[in-house]
């Protein structure tokens, strides 16, 4: 279905312009259909989100699997997963009313809509994906490996960095890829806090628009069926689908390839 509508779109707009154009103005009278601004917006917010979530999520995973007492872990893990249960509209509200004003105090001249605060809040949202799945991977590393390392006189930190994390690296990479694919598909946070101005930039302080936010923007308006504008959301949708599908397939492939390595 996606493909049919997208095909109709590409029969009217050349695929070369779509993939290389740096202007996206399908709703104006002077129409331009270059997907790059939307793609750069999507990548920018996701990149910021990963920048926030990766160190925090990984530190949590290592701490919970190597340091924390078992009972503590039992209580902390479900509460961290609450972070992922909060509806994303709520995160959008946080980003717009709490994080953006706070960042504006630190960085004067920052726009009210920007990818920095949207990406930051998105990062908080995907922390549990990284921490939970990485912790599972770390836990699956057999205890004998750790004991060998302790026997050589290493500290817990050395063991974690040199032994357990490398041994669990495929599981950790899978968790990060899943988190990236979640961030790329995330809609409401960016629709609320990142703005609706497609532009080809990697400056985190100005308003941008992501693929998902564009789809929402068009859907809110009254766009007639079978019009070119209507098809643009399917073109944006299929771009999004292809990107997340590739990421999910990579993670699936990695998971199967490295499973049961130590059994």
């Amino acid at each position: 279905m996606l493909a049919i509508e997208a095909f109709k779109f590409f029969s009217e707009v050349s695929i070369v312009e779509f993939l290389t154009g740096t202007e996206w103005t399908p709703l104006f009278t002077k129409k331009r259909f270059g997907i790059l601004p939307l793609l750069s917006g999507t990548l920018l917010t996701s990149f910021i989100a990963i920048l926030v979530a990766l160190p925090i999520g990984l530190a949590i995973a290592i701490y919970l699997s190597e340091y924390a007492p078992k009972r503590f872990r039992q209580y902390v893990k479900p509460s961290l997963e609450m972070l992922a249960a909060v509806p994303t509209v709520v995160y959008g509200f946080f980003a717009l009313t709490v994080v953006t004003p706070f960042l504006q105090m630190l960085i004067p001249g920052m726009s009210g809509f920007n990818s920095l605060s949207a990406g930051f809040v998105m990062g908080i949202m995907i922390i549990p994906i990284i921490s939970s799945l990485s912790e599972d991977a770390l836990n699956a590393v057999p205890y004998s490996l750790r004991e060998a390392s302790y026997g050589m006189g290493s500290t817990r930190f050395q063991t974690a960095i040199r032994v357990t994390v490398p041994a669990a690296s495929s599981g950790i990479v899978v968790s990060v890829i899943l988190a990236i694919s979640r961030a790329i598909g995330e809609t409401m946070i960016v629709a609320i806090a990142a703005g609706q101005q497609p532009r080809f930039t990697f400056n985190p302080l100005v308003p941008i628009e992501t693929l998902t936010a564009y789809i929402v923007q068009v859907s809110l308006g009254d766009v007639p069926h079978n019009s070119l504008e209507y098809r643009t959301i399917f073109a944006a949708g299929i771009t999004l689908f292809v990107v997340t599908f590739i990421l999910n397939s990579i993670s699936h492939w990695l998971k199967n390839k490295y499973r049961e390595k130590y059994e």
Binding site: A85, R182, I233
Partner: protein
Amino acid sequence: MNRVKINRLKDKLFLTAGVFSTFIGLVLLTIFIGNILIEGLPRLSWKFLINLPSRLPEKAGIYTALMGSIWVLFLTAIIAFPIGIAAGVYLEEYAKKGWLSKVFEVNISNLAGVPSIIYGLLGLEIFARVMHMGSSVLAGSLTLALLILPIIIVATRESIKAVPQSLRDASYALGASKWQTIYNQVVPASFGGILTGVILALSRAIGEAAPLIVVGALAYVPFAPSTPMDEFSVLPIQIFNWISRPQHGFITNAAAAIVILLVLTFAMNGIAIYMRNRWQKKVAW
């Protein structure tokens, strides 16, 4: 300082970093929720729940959105529950373990990773346009049902897997057919796990705004839906609409509506966790 001391210091430093990271997410969440409570609680009243939407922030209420959410949740549950369980039972009990079931498995886990807005596009094209349902409650519910089906199927399969073979063997030994075994033994024994999965899936569905916006749910609906073919709005969309308005009164309204949405979400999650714990304790094979 010698190397041993430096290494021990690094160990201690990382311990601090670990504790800090573990709590920073929770602390931020607490700050956010506290902020919302301060902003939204004074606005909450019975009138806020039963008033219709309005141009004036002081008069606006969430009645239509709340009723829309309840309608959507109810229909989604009715549609997704039987299909999800049937698919899970089939895949686990009947399907031959061959390449076909492997293809299914990969596809279902891949489907769970597809962004929700893509489901919205799918629903818009199939349900709203091709099947001529328009932007109705039914089209929205079918879209959300598609979205949560993979979650329910995976939960069903996991809990059926946990039922030991000995239970099935005992049932077969008494002369029960395959269907009788599944209906009287396997499904009741795994029902707690299945229900937990369904509730978690529904709590995800109640917070979804993006796919419903794409299907065509409206931000402003003057009346609560009374049939499945009516136009509708849901709480997250109402919140989204209020956030994007400039007047501060509407931000307060959004905060109050978020309080309601969070209470619903956390209540459903709480029930699911409670049931999971109870079920795990009761059933020890």
